[in-house]
């Protein structure tokens, strides 16, 4: 449940915005709003997750503070979003702890994991601090151990994310059967993969009353596709090992290394860009209480990519063992914290975009006309 105060703030926002509608050309939020006359909690949760946080509406708003109506869509919707993340998370208490101290919690997780791995490796007598012939990672941690541990963490995170997704879907009043709508899925996929809602007629996102740029969209693309590329690299690696039976270390020109390197570079450039944009963001439209949660995800991505690239570059050296453990620890921390941090925006926002695609295929519930 949204706190009463936030519910009232959301209702006030949507009542003023729905009577104004000047922003309808910007993004899906405003068009989805126009299909409604009253705003229940489920509507607010849906619209909050549909918001891509570009701020164009805020700078265009005749009712933004200091106007007495105090309309601040990016901030109000961000506050509601944070509550929905907590509400949908499974298991719930983990999310709460994480959101309060995101950066500390995730870094601590990484450190603890790295420590445990080092201990474990030392206890079985592996040589952690010496160059390994053929740069073979599996001399440090056996392939089976890696598959088992990462498989378990990955499955847990995937399950948690899936439960979150289903909770969101029910919460915004959609039946599960609606997931199987190919036309809507196609439409939503196109919008999600292109971040069409950050386009705003070609100008991108406003960074002040007089400036806008596509930077947020591009840094997000670089981060997202970097992440995807690393995922492809890992999947290919597993396929090479089991499918093709190639147990040697992949060469610099092999597909897993190419995808991993490109993805790693994306995950250096993208997150740095996003961090810089975050620092520059107008404090009046940001919900400061989410700062830790947002930053921890970006920082973990950055640490994972930097350690991964270092590992690739120094895999012939004595540092390989340490770097491998550090990299694995960070990646595991990243996967463990995925369902409780900023990453979930991708799940809920994509689902909200899908719901919007579904709504557009349905006839509107009312037909109010106006000025």
């Amino acid at each position: 449940m949204l706190p009463t105060e936030l519910m009232q703030e959301g209702d006030h926002l949507m009542t003023v915005c729905n009577a104004c509608r000047y922003c309808e050309g910007y993004c899906a939020v405003w068009q989805a709003m126009e299909r409604r006359l009253v705003f229940k909690e489920s509507d607010l949760n849906y619209l909050a997750n549909l918001c891509h946080n570009c701020s164009d509406c805020y700078y265009a708003c005749q009712y933004a503070p200091p106007h007495e109506f105090q309309i601040n869509p990016p901030k109000t919707l961000a506050k509601i979003r944070k509550y929905t993340y907590e509400q949908y998370a499974w298991p719930g208490p983990l999310a709460k702890a994480f959101q309060k101290n995101g950066l500390v919690v995730s870094l601590l997780t990484a450190v603890v994991l790295i420590g445990f791995m080092m201990l474990a490796i030392a206890s079985v007598g592996s040589q952690l601090f010496m160059p390994v012939r053929g740069a073979d990672f599996y001399q440090i941690a056996s392939h089976e151990v890696m598959i088992l541990t990462f498989g378990a963490v990955g499955l847990f995170s995937a399950l948690a994310l899936l439960i979150g997704l289903l909770r969101f879907w029910r919460n915004v009043d959609e039946p599960y059967s609606e997931f199987a709508n190919p036309a809507a899925l196609w439409k939503a996929a196109k919008e999600v993969l292109s971040l069409e809602n950050l386009d705003n007629g070609g100008a991108g996102c406003s960074t002040s009353e007089e400036k806008s740029s596509q930077a947020l969209r591009w840094f997000h693309h670089i981060t997202f596709y970097g992440f995807l590329s690393c995922f492809v690299a890992t999947t290919l690696g597993v396929f090479y090992y089991y499918g093709l039976g190639l147990h040697e270390t992949s060469g610099y020109t092999s597909l897993p290394v190419i995808f991993g390197t490109l993805g790693g570079l994306g995950l250096v450039i993208g997150p740095i860009g996003l961090l810089v944009l975050k620092q520059r963001r107008n404090r009046e439209i940001a919900d400061e209480s989410q700062y830790g949660m947002d930053v921890s995800f970006i920082v973990l991505l950055l640490l994972a990519s930097v350690s991964g690239l270092l590992l690739l570059a120094l895999r012939e050296s004595a540092a390989m063992g340490t770097l491998l453990v550090v990299h694995l620890g960070i990646v595991m921390a990243l996967f463990l914290t995925l369902p409780y941090g900023k990453f979930v925006h991708g799940i809920y926002r994509s689902a909200a975009v899908l719901k919007w695609a579904l709504e557009r295929s349905r006839p509107p519930a009312h037909s109010a006309a106006g000025e």
Binding site: A19, C20, Y22, E24, G25, Q62, F69, E210, G370, E371
Partner: protein, 483 residues
């Protein structure tokens, strides 16, 4: 005494900070003139009433990216003739319409963005081009463009006096950083809006009733520049009681409520005054004509207040209001909730319900649902108010803008009371809109007048200011030359 330690001297001085002022500033700068804009409001509330606008009406013979179909000169002309009841200046109107054809393209060049013609909830895409994000977004784009072009803008810069000798502008005195400061310029463009924020001035025209008016736009349009121009020999035009006056929610803020305070459920129910009596045919006309007359109608009622009463059938058929309606299960309770005389309201509703004739309700046409036998009939959309819960909204006159202004010619030059044309005084926007609009209003035409005359005034003022002294050849910058 003006503080002469900090003097300003520019080619073109522009007073005002809305659409007309910025269109003038950018046009003057395009000609190479040095330009200073004095905006009386703080930066956040810059843009006058333009920050509340949404679109402009523009003539076009073929579909464009931002306008569908065609809206010809003749159709546009006839629309304005109709809404003004002929109270216009026909040659000036015609040339304004012709000049409107290039406005959206020019505004786009200044960075103003428009909604795609086919999108949106409103069906004005044929006659009006909508700004993406509305008027404040338009103003943001203009100011960004002005900064790039090197136009100097000062905020919180209220003009307190003008020095005009024999119809020639010499200087203005403005409060700059809290000090009276003299600014001399070779040409002046007055684009400072009307006087609707000045309740005292409204009272001179409307009497004490004006105390109860709500001002939908900026609180900064005090009409000081307009008043001073008239005092110094510029011809005024227009009736001070005329302007764009609509019925708005009585709970709206005194100023700056903008678009969201409008209420358009009049046609779906009945409207009574504070005595519980109906006073006008609620089903006479479609929006926007209906919308444009109801402010004035409410202004003529006791205490300038009206109450629109509808039943649950009407809910969802009109644009949602920003304020929740009063709600009750009987008409009597509803009347009590809004402090209306219960017996009178009950009698009015009963008489209305009894007079409703059978018909087929259709809000999209002037349908055949009407009353018969009432002193004040409802001629369309009359359906019984009988399905609880019942709802009431209170209505007040909401002044959008005023028409009393300065008279200009088609070169945007101010005309003087002595029959001459001012040498270097131009006017654009609401301050001169009365030269074209005697009464009535058509959506988006105010912005059209602002852009058209802003461009003409800016170009003309710059050419005049940059002309070598001693040269007598006055270049013609008229409406169509600016195209």
């Amino acid at each position: 005494m003006p503080d002469d330690s900090k003097k300003f001297d520019v080619d073109v001085l522009i007073i005002g900070g809305g659409n007309a002022a910025l269109a003038a500033a950018l046009s003057a700068r395009e000609q190479g003139a040095s330009v200073l804009v004095l905006e009386g409001a703080p930066k956040h509330f810059r843009g006058g009433n333009s920050r509340h606008t949404r679109n402009l009406r523009a003539m076009h013979d073929a579909p464009t990216e931002v306008l569908t179909d065609a809206y010809t000169e003749e159709e546009f002309f006839n629309d304005i003739l109709r809404v003004t009841g002929g109270q216009t200046n026909e040659p000036l109107l015609r040339s304004t319409i012709r000049a409107s054809a290039t406005c959206t393209e020019w505004m786009k060049q200044q960075g103003v963005r428009f909604q795609h013609a086919m999108g949106g909830t409103l069906h004005l895409g044929r006659t009006n081009a909508f700004f993406l994000g509305g008027g404040k977004a338009m103003m943001n784009a203009y100011y960004a463009s002005a900064k790039r072009a090197g136009v100097r803008v000062l905020y919180d810069a209220e003009v307190i006096d003008l020095e005009i000798v024999d119809g020639e502008f010499h200087s203005a005195t403005a409060m700059i950083e809290g000090k009276p400061t003299r600014i001399s310029a070779r040409a002046l463009i007055a684009a400072a809006g009307g006087f609707e924020s000045n309740i005292e001035w409204l009272k001179e025209a409307w009497g004490p009733a004006a105390e109860n008016f709500l001002i939908r736009g900026t609180p900064y349009n005090m009409g000081k520049v307009l008043k001073r121009l008239i005092e110094l020999g510029v011809q005024s035009i227009g009736d001070p009681t005329q302007g764009h006056c609509v019925a708005v929610d009585a709970r709206a803020p005194k100023f700056d409520g903008g678009i969201v305070t409008r209420l358009d459920c009049v046609s779906l129910g009945i409207v009574v005054n504070k005595n519980g009596q109906r006073f006008y045919d609620e089903g006479e006309e479609f929006w926007p004509k209906r919308y444009a007359i109801w402010g004035r109608l409410v202004a003529q009622q006791p205490d300038q207040i009206g109450y629109c009463i509808i039943d649950s059938k009407a809910m969802g058929r009109f644009m949602p209001s920003v304020f929740p309606p009063s709600k009750a299960n009987t008409i009597g309770e509803l009347a009590k909730a809004v402090n209306l005389p219960v017996a009178e309201v009950e009698a009015t509703v009963k008489a209305f319900n009894d007079a409703v004739q059978p018909g087929t309700f259709n809000h999209a046409i002037l349908d055949d649902c009407k009353t018969s036998g009432l002193k004040v009939e409802k001629t369309h959309w009359a359906v019984r108010i009988d399905e609880p819960p019942f709802y009431a909204y209170s209505l007040r006159p909401g002044i959008t803008f005023t028409y009393l202004g300065v008279k200009v010619n088609d070169r945007a030059e101010a005309l003087l009371t002595n029959g001459k044309t001012a040498r270097n005084i131009f006017a654009a926007g609401e301050i001169m809109a009365g030269s074209i609009l005697g009464k009535g209003y058509a959506a988006g035409f105010g912005v059209t007048i602002g852009t058209v005359f802003g461009r003409i005034a800016g170009t003309g003022a710059a050419k005049l200011a940059l002309r070598p002294t001693g040269s007598n050849a006055k270049e013609e910058v008229s409406l169509n030359a600016a195209n």
